[in-house]
C-alpha cells in the first residue's frame, strides 16, 4: 500500500495547458468567485482577492496563474510604491472572451457582440421585413457579427444568448422568425455555429446585463425598470434577479408616448428639438408624469417590504427622455438614487450577450 500523500499529483486547476478557453464544464467554484470579483472591481491585487474571497494566498496564486494562462485575466501596469517592489493590479482581459446577444424588438431583431468587460464591439439592427423567417437567418446574422472578430478571437467566443419576450407579448413577426419551439431554435443555432446557446426572458436578461457590466455592477440590491414599448420591472436582491408575475407590464412605455406623438406627425427623436410644438410638449409632460407616477408607486410599495437604495432605469429611448424621467423621479423620491442604465445601445441584446458569461464564468 503506497503512502497516498505521494500519489501522482492531482492539480487543483484543470486548466488545459494548450491555449484557448477551457471546456464549459470544468470551471471550479473558486475560479468563478475570482472572476466575479474581478468583474465587479478591476485593478485589484491578489491580497485583496484573498481578503474578499477568503481564499488562501496560495490558492489565489494557483487560480490567478491558471486564469492568466487562459488569457482571461491580465496584469496591469506595475504600481511603484514608496518602498519595495512594485505591485501589479489584476483585471479581466477584455479580449479574453466574447459573446453575442440577440434580442427581438417591436420592429427589428438586434445583434450585439460584446467583449469580456461588456464593451459593445459590434451592433446591428435587422428589421423583420429584411429577414427570412427561419432560425437559419438568425444564425447567419450572428455569424455576420462573429466575422468581425479577428480569427484568433473566434475560438474565444463563450456562447450566444437569446433574449426572448414572454409568449403573451410575442408578436406574429417574432413568432414567425423563432417558430413555436424555443428548444428547436436553440438546437438549430448550436448546430450551425458550434456554440452553446442560452435563452432567457428579455427583461430578466436586460437586468442581468446591467448587473454584470452596467450601472449596477457594484449593487447587490436594486429595483430594475425596463422602459421599452411598455414598462417592465425586476427586483434584484443579493445579486439574484426576481421576476414577479412575469407577464406583468404597464402600458405607460414608449409605445404610448409614440402613439401620442404620431398624431402630431412627430417621433421620439424630435423630443427636445427646437421646433417641438407646444401641444406635443404638453403631451410629453403628461406622459412623463404618468410614467413617473407608475414607477414611484411601484418603488414606494416595494420599499415597505424590502430595503434598497437604488433604482436602475434601462431604456433605448433617446437620452433626453430617459434623463428627464430620471430627474423627475429623483425629485419625487429624493432618498432613492435613480440611475440610468449604461447599456443604452441595446439593453436586451447586451443582456442576452451576458448570459454565456453568467453561465460559464460567474458565481450563480
Amino acid at each position: 500500500m503506497p503512502d497516498m500523500r505521494f500519489a501522482p499529483p492531482n492539480p487543483l486547476r484543470i486548466a488545459d495547458r494548450a491555449s484557448g478557453l477551457n471546456a464549459p464544464t470544468v470551471r471550479s467554484y473558486n475560479e468563478r468567485l475570482v472572476l466575479s470579483l474581478l468583474l465587479q472591481s478591476s485593478g485589484i491585487s491578489r491580497l485583496e482577492i484573498g481578503e474578499k474571497t477568503g481564499l488562501s494566498a496560495q490558492t489565489v496564486s494557483v487560480i490567478v496563474r491558471s486564469l492568466e494562462q487562459e488569457a482571461l485575466v491580465s496584469k496591469g501596469e506595475a504600481q511603484r510604491g514608496r518602498v519595495g517592489p512594485p505591485t501589479i493590479p489584476l483585471s479581466l482581459n477584455p479580449e479574453g472572451t466574447f459573446s453575442v446577444g440577440v434580442s427581438f424588438g417591436e420592429d427589428a431583431t438586434n445583434v450585439a457582440l460584446i467583449d469580456f468587460v461588456g464593451k459593445v464591439r459590434y451592433y446591428a439592427a435587422h428589421p423583420y421585413s429584411s429577414l427570412q423567417e427561419s432560425s437559419a437567418t438568425i444564425a447567419a446574422k450572428i455569424e455576420e457579427g462573429l466575422s468581425t472578430l479577428p480569427p484568433d478571437s473566434r475560438t474565444r467566443v463563450a456562447g450566444i444568448g437569446l433574449a426572448v419576450p414572454d409568449d403573451a407579448n410575442t408578436s406574429g413577426q417574432i413568432r414567425k422568425l423563432l417558430g413555436r419551439d424555443l428548444a428547436d431554435v436553440q438546437a438549430n443555432i448550436e448546430r450551425r455555429l458550434g456554440l452553446s446557446v442560452y435563452i432567457q426572458n428579455e427583461i430578466t436578461a436586460a437586468a442581468g446585463g446591467e448587473s454584470l457590466f452596467g450601472m449596477a455592477r457594484s449593487l447587490s440590491d436594486f429595483l430594475f425598470f425596463y422602459l421599452g414599448s411598455r414598462l417592465h420591472s425586476r427586483l434584484i436582491l443579493n445579486y439574484q434577479i426576481h421576476s414577479g408575475r412575469s407577464d406583468l407590464s404597464h402600458d405607460v412605455g414608449l409605445l404610448a408616448l409614440l402613439q401620442g406623438l404620431k398624431k402630431h406627425g412627430l417621433t421620439l427623436s424630435d423630443i427636445g428639438s427646437t421646433n417641438f410644438p407646444d401641444a406635443a410638449g404638453e403631451l410629453y409632460a403628461r406622459w412623463q408624469e404618468v410614467c413617473c407616477r407608475r414607477i414611484s408607486v411601484s418603488v414606494r410599495s416595494l420599499l415597505s417590504f424590502v430595503n434598497f437604495k437604488s433604482v436602475v432605469l434601462s431604456s433605448y429611448a433617446p437620452p433626453v427622455v430617459a434623463h428627464d424621467l430620471c430627474e423627475s423621479l429623483n425629485k419625487e423620491l429624493p432618498d432613492i438614487s435613480f440611475l440610468l442604465g449604461a447599456n443604452s445601445t441595446a439593453p436586451k441584446a447586451i443582456g442576452a450577450a451576458s448570459l454565456p458569461y453568467h453561465s460559464r464564468f460567474m458565481v450563480q
Partner: protein
C-alpha cells in the same frame, strides 16, 4: 521594525557558482539572486541564503555525498531559521544527473516531498505553515561541455521541469514561478546562471513575493 523572513533553499545557482569557473568561485552577495532580492524587497525583509552546490531534492548523492540530499537538510535548516514567512525552493537540476536516472516527473515528486516536510514542520509564524514558492530552474543548455556524460539526457528532461513543477505546485496549492521565463543558463558551462541572470531572477522573484500580498503585520518583534 517588524521584519519578514524568506528562506532561499537551492543548489549552486542559489549559492552563486560562477559559470565555467572553479568550484570555489562564487558571485558576491549583491550579485547573487538572494542578494538582489534583498535589495529589491528592502529592509522589511530578511533574506536567508541556503544554496549548496550539488544539492538534490531527496537523494543522497553516491558520488558527492549524503549531505547533498535536500530532504535531510531542509528540516534542520528551516528550523534553524524560524520564524519563516516564506520558503522558496529552487532545486531539480542536480536530480537530472545520469546517476539518479530520474524523469522530470519524479524530480517533481521530490519537490512534493519537501513541501510535505515543510508543512509537517510548520516553521511559519505561530507554528503555522509558511508560504511556499516552487521555482523551476531554467533549462540546461544542450552544450554542457565536460559535464556531458554526467548530465547525459538532462537538457531534454530539464525542459520538462517547469510543467511538472507547476502541476505539483497546483496540486499541493503552493506558489510557483518559472525562472526560465526571465533568465537562462550561461553558455560557459550550460547550467549555471551568470550575473545578469541572477539580477533578472532576483528582480522577478521580488515582484512575485510582493504579488502574494502580505497583510499588515500584527506580530511583535
Amino acid at each position: 521594525m517588524p521584519m519578514r523572513s524568506v528562506l532561499c533553499f537551492g543548489d549552486s545557482n542559489t549559492h552563486g557558482q560562477i559559470p565555467g569557473r572553479g568550484p570555489l568561485e562564487r558571485f558576491d552577495r549583491h550579485t547573487r539572486w538572494p542578494g538582489v532580492l534583498q535589495s529589491e524587497l528592502g529592509a522589511s525583509w530578511y533574506v536567508i541564503e541556503e544554496g549548496l552546490s550539488g544539492r538534490t531534492t531527496v537523494h543522497d548523492d553516491p558520488i558527492e555525498g549524503a549531505h547533498k540530499n535536500g530532504r535531510t537538510y531542509l528540516r534542520p535548516c528551516a528550523q534553524s531559521h524560524t520564524v519563516l514567512d516564506l520558503v522558496i525552493i529552487m532545486l531539480g537540476t542536480n536530480d537530472l544527473k545520469v546517476r539518479f536516472n530520474k524523469p522530470a516527473s519524479e524530480v517533481a515528486m521530490g519537490i512534493g516531498c519537501l513541501i510535505y516536510d515543510l508543512r509537517e514542520l510548520a516553521p511559519g509564524p505561530g507554528g503555522s505553515v509558511p508560504e511556499i514558492m516552487i521555482v523551476a530552474p531554467p533549462p540546461i543548455l544542450d552544450d554542457v561541455k565536460e559535464w556531458k556524460s554526467i548530465f547525459a539526457g538532462a537538457p531534454e528532461k530539464s525542459r520538462q521541469l517547469a510543467l511538472e513543477f507547476e502541476i505539483m505546485a497546483d496540486s499541493l496549492g503552493v506558489h510557483f514561478f518559472n525562472a526560465g521565463s526571465v533568465c537562462s543558463c550561461d553558455a560557459a558551462d550550460g547550467f549555471h546562471l551568470n550575473a545578469e541572470a541572477h539580477r533578472a531572477l532576483g528582480a522577478a522573484l521580488a515582484q512575485e513575493i510582493e504579488a502574494i500580498g502580505w497583510p499588515a503585520q500584527e506580530r511583535k518583534s
